[in-house]
């Protein structure tokens, strides 16, 4: 699927490039270079690959988490509903975590609730690098590496937990 996506993106980039060069044939060299650079930076560039890998790691993490939930869930529908909820909570986890870690004069019930959200759920917003890649932001290698390590760490832990719970089941 990724290969097909890359092929389509490459073809579209070449089409737009040819069209732009044809339309700007009379323009100064500097303007043509600017336009070509703008098209290339918005289409197939090296930052797409970290984006694809991070999406894959996010999918792995969610699969591992689903496996873990399914080890104590009694029905498929329960697993699906819980995972949908976890998916949304995971995207809000960072908000809860930051609110919890900053000094706010909230009651202890709120703080315990926020702490549980922050500790139990994964931060799925971390894996949404693609939102920034599509607007041309470059992803530093260190950031990509840290995100990938965190993704692998989450996936490993949730898989191990799933295995641990599964071994305790009476089959």
């Amino acid at each position: 699927m990724s290969a097909m996506f890359l092929a389509v993106l490459y073809l579209r980039e070449q089409t737009v490039l040819h069209e732009t060069l044809r339309q700007m044939s009379a323009a100064p060299r500097e303007q043509i270079d600017d336009a070509s650079r703008a098209i290339r930076s918005s289409a197939l560039n090296i930052d797409i690959f970290p984006g694809i890998i991070i999406i894959y790691l996010k999918a792995c993490l969610l699969a591992a988490l689903t496996l873990f939930v399914s080890t104590f869930a009694t029905t498929n529908i329960f697993t699906i509903v819980v995972m949908v909820a976890i998916y949304f909570i995971g995207h809000l986890q960072a908000t809860a975590r930051e609110y919890w870690l900053q000094e706010h004069s909230t009651g202890w019930i709120t703080r315990v609730f926020l702490a549980l959200i922050a500790l139990i759920f994964p931060d799925l917003q971390t894996f949404n690098l693609v939102d920034d890649i599509v607007v041309g932001a470059a992803i530093p290698l260190a950031l990509f590496a840290k995100t990938a390590v965190l993704g692998i760490f989450y996936t490993t832990i949730y898989t191990l937990l799933a295995a641990f719970v599964f071994y305790g089941k009476e089959l």
């Binding site: 995207h91 975590r97 500790l119 971390t126 939102d131 920034d132 599509v134 840290k146 760490f153 719970v165």
Partner: protein, 262 residues
């Protein structure tokens, strides 16, 4: 006693799993925080998911944005804004572009298009509005659209301070709509100072300064410096403005650029 022991043993594993999940949560916390801080430094997570955003983008949009489809929601809203523009529904264009720029504050195109629709398209439509017979009210509406365009650009610059495109658009807005050449020059100069700036920004900053009453000397010096850089900078507008300032400032003949200079 035996039953109690069995129950305790059965409860042991879930408790252990919960403890392991919490321990893992404590372990992952520093890593998550470090990444969050790095994202903020790179302006990656500039969108705050709060009630303000919920009001701006509606319930479905908010849910979609929450589920990690922020960029896609912004693109869909951008297409809707384009359709609204084709129908000249200016109120809807404004509303949709507010939503789009809220969801994708790092996309230069969205800020640029929002400002263009407001300050260039909607303002002209307001001025040519046949349903409003009073000129004063048409001018007022036009001014309001200018201000909306300016607001988009200012907020765009705030979100993307390192990109020269929006400084340039704001400079053009001051030049073409407000006829404020001093501000236009200031923003062209700000754009020129950035690493990704185009070569003409510096020239444009000097051109605009040459129209400012009382700043002719400064403009002359800047234009002269550009002229002295070499042939690539000696463009027709630069020479025209330089000659105009030479006359206005009574520059001695020996210091003036040669007649027919290029």
């Amino acid at each position: 006693m035996m039953r109690f022991a069995c129950r305790a043993a059965a409860l042991q594993r879930p408790v252990l799993v919960l403890a392991m999940v919490l321990a893992f949560g404590v372990m992952k916390l520093p890593g998550e925080r470090a990444l969050f801080v790095q994202h903020r430094q790179l302006h990656f997570r500039d969108v705050e998911f709060n009630l303000d955003l919920r009001e701006k983008i509606g319930q479905l949009g908010f849910i979609a944005a929450l589920s990690g489809f922020r960029a896609i929601v912004a693109d869909v809203l951008f297409i809707q804004a384009h359709v609204a523009w084709e129908r000249t529904e200016w109120g809807r264009v404004l509303l949709l572009f507010r939503q789009v720029t809220t969801l994708q504050p790092r996309a230069i195109l969205f800020w640029d298009m929002a400002a263009w629709h407001m300050a260039w398209n909607a303002s002209v439509a307001a001025m040519n509005d046949q349903t409003q017979p009073r000129l004063a009210l048409r001018v007022k509406a036009q001014r309001e659209y200018f201000a909306l365009g300016k607001d988009f650009l200012e907020r765009g610059i705030k979100n993307n301070p390192e990109k020269p495109q929006l400084y340039e658009t704001l400079a053009r807005l001051y030049k073409e709509k407000y006829k404020d050449h001093a501000s236009a020059s200031e923003f062209f100069a700000k754009a020129a100072a950035l690493p990704e700036a185009r070569a003409y920004e510096k020239r444009f900053a000097a051109y605009e300064l040459s129209y400012c009453e009382g700043r002719e000397r400064e403009a002359y010096e800047r234009l002269r410096r550009l002229y002295d850089v070499g042939k690539n900078e000696r463009l027709p507008t630069l020479i025209t403005r330089l000659k105009f300032l030479e006359q206005k400032l009574n520059i001695p003949n020996e210091q003036r650029i040669p007649e027919g200079a290029h």
